[in-house]
Symmetry: C2
Subunit: 162 residues, 2 copies
Amino acid sequence: MPSNPSAMFVQSAISNWELIIKRATAVFDRLSDEELFAEIAPGKNRAIYLLGHLSAVHDMMLPLLGLGERQYPFLDAAFISNPDKAIPDLPKVEELRGYWKNINEVLVGKFRILQPEEWLQKHTAVSDEDFAREPHRNRFNVLLNRTGHVQYHLGQLALLKK
Amino acid sequence: MPSNPSAMFVQSAISNWELIIKRATAVFDRLSDEELFAEIAPGKNRAIYLLGHLSAVHDMMLPLLGLGERQYPFLDAAFISNPDKAIPDLPKVEELRGYWKNINEVLVGKFRILQPEEWLQKHTAVSDEDFAREPHRNRFNVLLNRTGHVQYHLGQLALLKK
């Protein structure tokens, strides 16, 4: 057993998160501003919606993980509470691209300084009583879950490839 | 720190795998045999291809993780080495549905008996020398990566929903 196995499990999960964020960022960077307004399939979400949606979900990870206040709560109306195309006025594309990069930088900076035992602490959406019964509702589980959420939408964005 | 933090990190990752497999199985079960032949988007992979592809990739996890011999190597021609529709003769749908359920049962049974320190051991596609330099190329990393691979294709299968 390595000297600090817990640190290795955490490091694997953070590296996996970083890899997936890098892939998603590369996909968004490759799409022009106009291409972002293409639907991933006829009648389905546009890439711009997925960019805003993922940014908003990641912004929510700050309070969910107890790592800080939200930076972009105003994204929720267009990208969380409503489906694509329900809200006609979206933030400028350039701004959205910036939110995405910034929130992911902020998150990974905070991930890197959390100690392994802090990853096993409860996230803020679970009560002390529930956490006593369900210790898997911890920060680590949120990290795995949100990594998978990016991959889910990456599979959809891949359909835009020619 | 819980008494066995390593076991908790491993348990989280296995639970996440189980959850995602359950979701994917529910999607495949909900699709009729005919619906499995629908494309997830015009000109893209059919659901049947994703069922065979995921089954073959999971079958490959047995030797990759050093947990046994492959059960369905004959799936590779239609679902790994070639794109969808390149091979006209596919296994019967009913057989494919069975392979998917069986390989996932076999895998999770083996996952549950691996000890935390065994998850940090190298997978079989990396040499001893490379593993000494790159200790993240371990079984745990394969588990995270393959969980994300299912989620990638789940995002695509979700487009078939009416």
